[in-house]
Assembly symmetry: none
Homo-oligomer: 233 residues x 2
């Protein structure tokens, strides 16, 4: 079993050294880099299994570079950030970050997150459920339990979130009410379809421009519902 390869991008020297040391102690192979340019080059030569990146790198170039990289290789990214707000402002989610952790952070917690993310990408079944997805102007991050529409965070209840996720992960495909109940409520739920109707109603209230004439969650009478991606115009 090869050690997983982590690319650490952090400009502050002490923190960089300390992290690299500790991650190596934890059994990872670590490559460090203090700026985005170097990181880019490293990724090109030898794609890592995971990138650990300080969001507050000098200049916004780091984020921009990452955006480019993510279109080429899809490796998981964990951001280090001073405050949650910083993460949101930097649109980390849009960039496909898999997770973030706020400073000051706890080493065991960081390592646990790293392990969780790595485990996910190695298990396709789990990955499908937990990986952030983006469909049109909608983004869903099942790990952080955050969904955004046109960049704005939606305030969804757990049920609404799961329901939306179940629909959006199969865009344009009709998902039967039975299947939705299975995915969202679980197989053992003795479900009347009514439940689904109600939550669809509330979801529409939150994601449709005009819930009366839904354009994203479409009813397919007798068959179920389907999610239609919409793009910013």
């Amino acid at each position: 079993m090869m050690a997983d390869h982590i690319l650490l991008v952090e400009d502050e020297k002490l923190l960089r050294r300390s992290l690299a040391f500790n991650l190596e102690q934890a059994g990872y192979q670590v490559t460090s880099s203090s700026n985005a340019e170097d990181a880019l080059e490293i990724v090109r030569r030898d794609p890592p299994d995971l990138v650990l990146m300080d969001i507050g790198l000098p200049g916004m170039d780091g984020l921009e570079a990452l955006r480019k990289l993510k279109t080429q290789h899809t490796f998981p990214v964990i951001f280090l950030t001073a405050r949650r707000r910083e993460f949101d402002e930097a649109l980390g989610l849009e960039l496909g970050a898999d997770d973030y952790i706020t400073k000051p952070f706890d080493l065991p917690i960081l390592i646990a997150r790293i392990r969780a993310v790595l485990r996910r990408i190695k298990n396709p079944a789990e990955a499908a459920i937990h990986t952030p997805i983006s469909v049109g102007d909608l983004e869903i991050n099942p790990i952080r339990f955050v969904a955004t529409l046109r960049g704005e965070e939606l305030n969804l209840s757990p049920r609404e979130f799961d329901l939306l996720h179940a629909l959006a992960i199969e865009p344009e495909r009709v998902v039967s009410v039975d299947s939705l109940i299975n995915q969202v409520w679980g197989a053992e739920y003795e479900g009347q379809p009514q439940v689904v109707y109600v939550h669809i109603r509330w979801l529409r209230e939150k994601i449709e421009d005009d819930p009366k004439y839904p354009e994203r969650i479409i009813t397919v009478r007798g068959k179920g519902y389907k999610f239609i991606p919409h793009f910013d115009s």
Copy 2:
């Protein structure tokens, strides 16, 4: 359990590499190719389980090559396409594409589709019901629950949709009323044939130029009905 073998045909180098990398991560065996000619050769030598193909390859030769290939080996195809319109114009479905996915796409979603398509071809029963079909100027996509005639979406009720599907999946062949009842209403339905007549009537209203003189759904007296493909002229 052998890994499924995917042939990736994509001319853009970075995207090709990235996809290959990620699909391998997901547990598939991937062969890449940047053009149709190579792809042809690869298929001849070692037929893949699935082909993932950029629809915007240089020249239309890719599509033409694929058309030829599909007559030799039957493997499923998923198209990558920039816009949905592009797919329609290229008549991807007519070429036997099993699915398409529009860029920019999300890796988890792509992988989910790949898995769905592979599962389908391994289960013949499921395959017949769920595979998109194209007969003449009519296209039926049971997964999206969309039927189009000359590119225009038909507004069919569930019964009408199923009925049309049952007929169109065996073009030119006469399907008995009993068989239609079985397929559309289910075996347990205590069916009077009357029901079928009525729905045929409504279907004709929606897909025939002149319902009075049907050209697509033809009555074969005493035997049943048959669907005759028509092409744009």
